[in-house]
């Protein structure tokens, strides 16, 4: 049996050799590994292999006010190249403003956004807008293309505006259509596409000039789960090709699943930045053992856990399961399973997990500065 540390090692190795994070994740989950552990290890592996050089995008003390309303308050953020970076925050917290500031649409009242240029130098995006337009791709929350032009016409139009020659436009268009899976719909008017296809077209338009950084604002908003996955797969694919991706979303689970690092934006500030594991660790070191038995004889199990408070500091029922928190999941799970075996109660379901980023975020929002424990 492969142990958790061994699994981590395997994942690290596979990622460093260029394995697709999503493919690996699917493979491991199908092999029976808990999804949360796989996600955590994948995040850690990606963080480990991420280039640690100078940040590609750097926000320094960025403050933006609309009248008396402070939307961004001294934001400091560094995003290295090649990263799939997520920004989470409640709706209306300022995610879009932050992204717009990153691409130079909004000039901050204080602070600066700098960009590492291909020659290695750094430049404020507000002083080198020409570079910004070439290095940034942006997919806003609302798809940005002409509904009355076809898919191909849209891509070719924006490609032409990025000064690609007609031949390059055609070639680029073909490759992008393949990438986003819209080859068959290339002559369909954009307004007649489904929501997911529109999003894919929007992404295609955003990367038509092969930007170094792709910024997406709520890329999966209003999409069904299958399409969401498709979009994320596409983003991972783009990311694998070397494009740094910055995604702002309030769908925390997706960011948790796909992003190498996440920044939490709340109260006009980036309060936390890190991998999913790091974010979890900030608020809780505990794992959670989820158990479901056929007779639901949870009082006996609760009593068993209560006797070992050091191992099970907190036990509660949630969704027909008994949940026991523990800092030592292997030992705790083993003892618990032994106890159930003694009771001869049929075990229906068991899994070990850690609090999700969504739960961490929810807790942050609800309790603000109070951690889970």
């Amino acid at each position: 049996m492969v142990t958790a540390p061994a699994l981590k090692e395997h994942i690290m190795q596979a990622i460093s050799q260029g394995a697709d994070k999503n493919d690996l994740r699917k493979l491991l989950i199908s092999a029976g590994w808990p999804g949360e552990i796989v996600t955590e290890y994948l995040g850690e592996a990606q963080e480990a292999i991420a280039p640690k050089g100078p940040a590609l995008v750097k926000l320094q003390g960025v403050t933006k006010r609309f009248g008396d309303n402070v939307v961004l308050d001294h934001i400091n953020l560094e995003i290295p190249p090649g990263e799939l970076f997520g920004i989470i925050g409640l709706s209306g917290v300022g995610k879009t403003t932050l992204l717009n500031t990153m691409v130079g649409f909004i000039e901050p009242d204080e602070g600066d956004v700098t960009l590492k240029l291909p020659d290695g130098s750094e430049a404020s995006i507000f002083k080198r807008k020409d570079i910004v337009s070439r290095m940034f791709g942006f997919a806003a929350q609302v798809p940005s293309f002409y509904g009355q032009l076809s898919v191909r016409e849209n891509i070719e139009h924006f490609a032409a505006l990025y000064n690609l020659t007609p031949a390059e436009c055609i070639s680029k268009c073909d490759s992008l259509l393949r990438l986003v899976g819209l080859e068959k719909a290339q002559h369909t008017l954009a307004q007649n596409l489904s929501g997911g296809m529109q999003k894919r077209l929007d992404i295609a338009c955003a990367i038509v000039h092969e930007p170094s950084i792709l910024i997406l604002d709520e890329p999966t908003a209003d999409l069904d789960p299958i399409i969401r996955n498709q979009i994320w797969d596409l983003l991972c694919q783009i990311n694998r090709q070397g494009t740094t991706i910055i995604v702002a979303s309030h769908v925390v689970s997706e960011l948790e699943q796909y992003c190498s690092r996440i920044a939490i934006l709340r109260s006009q500030k980036i309060t936390e930045v890190g991998t999913t594991a790091q974010l979890r660790d900030i608020y809780s070191k505990h794992y959670e053992i989820f158990l479901r038995v056929s007779q639901k004889d949870y009082p006996k199990i609760k009593a068993f856990c209560s006797k070992k408070r050091a191992l099970y500091p907190r036990v509660y029922e949630k969704n027909d399961c008994i949940v026991a928190q523990t800092a030592h999941p292997r030992e705790a799970l083993q003892q618990m399973l032994n106890f159930i075996a003694k009771l001869r109660i049929p075990l229906v379901h068991v899994h070990v997990d850690r609090p999700s980023i969504a739960e961490v975020f929810e807790a942050l929002v609800k309790n603000d500065s109070h951690p889970l424990h």
Partner: protein
């Protein structure tokens, strides 16, 4: 930037411009409603205007008439209007006639005065009731009406003048004839004067004095009385003598009778005495008769004398009257003489007047009634070959189409772009703002050019004149397109919503329209507005087009206005840039505001 990079930059700019124009055209064509309104709308307008104005008449004008009593004269006016193919409706009352205009049954009401007739002052009036709210029609209707009425008035005036001239001619002949009579009258007057002088002299010599005393009527009367007295005395004496004789006889008789001798003798004596007595009685009787006769004769004589005295008195009175008459006659003759002198003077004056009249009549050279009614013949000669109203309106229609196309299309394109989700992405591209502005300009200009080609192609069927001054017309059209498109772009950049921009564009277009000479003449506007109107791009544009298309004007004739128009076009371009860059930040902020999401639950 090196020249090579600069050229490359410009080249890329042009390429991007073409891409944007291509995109704009595709979007316009695919947005069917916009294409219909913006592209086909003006074409449809000019097509309809062409159909509407492709004639020189007003066949559809309906006229109401009212007269308390129609007569030949009023009917002749109505017939004259009917000849023009106007639809005439006769109303029974004046009120119904004017209500007809309000109800839209008629365009004008012609009201004839009661007893409408020529030569009756104050009654030969024709009143027009018109609806001034139909400002575009009212002047045309009035013009046509008054022209028709004037034609009939002129006809009547010509007839009256002919009568007048005939009378003058007759007078001229009569004056010539009567001049001889005046000469004869003068001579006769002179002769009458002389004769009156003679009569006056004769009368002066006539003595009509009479003294009744000279006839001795008083003496005659006293003599007759004396004679009567003497006769009476003689008769009395005779009677006394006879009485005495009788008394004597009687005494003799008595004596005889009483005498005895007397019986013998007495019988003889008595017989003699008796005979004497008889004789005396006879004498007495005869004396008595003589007395009576004398009395009668005396009475007759007296009567005769009195009659003669009366006649003399009467004659005296008559002679006195005759004397008075003579005096009066002499006075009258004097008066007559004076009057004759005056008459002579009058005759001479009349003669002089007649001479002058004759001279003046002879001096009248125009004897043609038409020449007197219309001493100055006016005729309107069109400076271009008259074909239809469309011919004259063509430049204005072109200007209107260009103006409204530019004012509607440019903001549509700008706001189409700005409100499109793709605005954000376009903004991200390394495309210059000037290229975006240029794409709007070029797209609008292209569509205007397409419209012009269609219009000119259609117009070419009706008149070939448009191609005479092709180059100058093309320059004017280019300036018009530039300026109008700039105005449209300014509207587009100033407003954020398509609705308000359309409203502003239509308002601006209407403003230009109302202060132009298309609806009412500029000259009839207040001075301030007239001054403003002279700088109205629509007025200048249509005027330049009119000159080049209709008058085939050379550059020397239009260069000042063309220069002004070019300056305005340059100013328009500068304003577009100023407004664009002035509004850019604000516009983008508003655009970004659209993307601030609403609160959504955490997933």
């Amino acid at each position: 930037m090196t020249p090579t990079r600069s050229t490359e930059h410009i080249s890329r700019g042009f390429e991007n411009l073409l891409v944007l124009v291509q995109k704009n055209l595709k979007l316009l064509v695919r947005a069917k409603a916009s294409a219909l309104v913006v592209i086909l709308g003006p074409l449809l307008i000019i097509f309809l205007a062409g159909l509407a104005f492709d004639n020189t008449n007003l066949y559809a004008v309906r006229i109401g008439t009212y007269s308390p009593s129609y007569n030949d004269l009023s009917n002749s006016f109505i017939d004259k209007l009917a000849e023009k193919q106007f639809e005439i409706t006769r109303y029974p009352t004046e009120e119904l006639c004017t209500q007809g205009i309000r109800r839209g049954e008629t365009h004008t009401c012609i009201m004839f005065a009661p007893n409408f007739a020529i030569g009756k002052n104050g009654s030969n009036e024709i009143r027009f009731a018109v609806d001034y709210s139909q400002i575009n029609l009212v002047w045309t209707i009035l013009n046509v009406m008054t022209t028709s009425i004037s034609a009939r008035s002129s006809e009547l005036s010509r007839n009256l003048t002919a009568v007048l001239l005939h009378t003058i001619d007759f007078t001229k002949k009569a004056v010539a004839d009567r001049k001889q009579n005046l000469v004869a009258l003068t001579t006769e007057n002179d002769e009458i004067g002389q004769r009156l002088g003679n009569v006056q002299a004769e009368l002066m010599e006539l003595e009509l004095g009479l003294d009744p005393g000279e006839f001795g009527i008083t003496n005659l009367s006293s003599s007759s009385r004396i004679v009567k007295q003497w006769v009476d005395n003689s008769l009395d004496l005779g009677k006394q003598s006879l009485d005495q004789a009788q008394h004597f006889i009687n005494a003799v008789g008595d004596l005889v009778k009483n005498s005895p001798a007397g019986s013998s003798i007495g019988t003889g004596v008595t017989t003699s005495l008796q005979a004497s007595v008889l004789e005396i009685a006879n004498l007495k009787d005869r004396l008595s008769k003589t007395e009576d006769i004398v009395g009668e004769q005396y009475a007759e004589l007296n009567s005769l004398i009195e009659h003669i005295a009366g006649r003399i008195t009467q004659t005296k009175s008559q002679i006195d009257l005759a004397e008075s008459a003579k005096v009066f006659t002499l006075d009258e003759i004097n008066v007559i003489n004076t009057l004759l002198d005056q008459a002579l003077l009058n005759i001479l004056t009349l003669q002089k007047s007649l001479n002058e009249i004759e001279k003046m009549i002879n001096a009248i050279q125009i004897t043609d009634p038409q020449a007197i009614v219309q001493p100055v013949q006016t005729s309107i000669v069109p400076v271009v070959a008259e074909q239809s109203y469309l011919n004259y309106l063509f430049p204005t229609l072109i200007a209107l189409v260009l103006l409204f196309t530019a004012l509607l299309l440019a903001p549509t394109l700008i706001l189409f772009e700005r409100n499109s989700p793709a605005y954000f992405r376009n903004f991200m591209t390394p495309t210059s703002d000037l290229v975006f502005m240029g794409s709007v300009f070029v797209t609008t200009a292209l569509l205007q050019i397409v419209q012009l080609i269609v219009i000119f192609a259609i117009a070419g069927i009706f008149f070939t004149q448009i191609l005479n001054a092709f180059y100058y017309t093309a320059i004017v059209l280019a300036l018009m397109i530039t300026l109008y498109t700039c105005l449209g772009m300014i509207v587009g950049y100033l407003f954020n919503s398509e609705e308000t921009a359309m409203l502003a564009a239509i308002s601006l277009g209407s403003l230009f329209l109302f202060i132009s000479d298309i609806i009412i003449p500029i000259e009839s506007m207040p001075a301030v507005i007239m001054k403003f109107a002279s700088f109205n791009p629509l007025v200048i544009g249509s005027d330049l087009l009119r000159r080049t298309i209709l008058f085939n004007a050379s550059i020397g004739e239009i260069w000042t206005k063309m220069l002004l128009f070019a300056a305005m076009a340059v100013l328009g371009v500068c304003l577009v840039l100023a407004v664009y860059y002035g509004m850019k930040k604000n516009t983008f902020s508003k655009y970004l505001a659209k993307f601030v999401p609403k609160k959504e639950p955490l997933q």
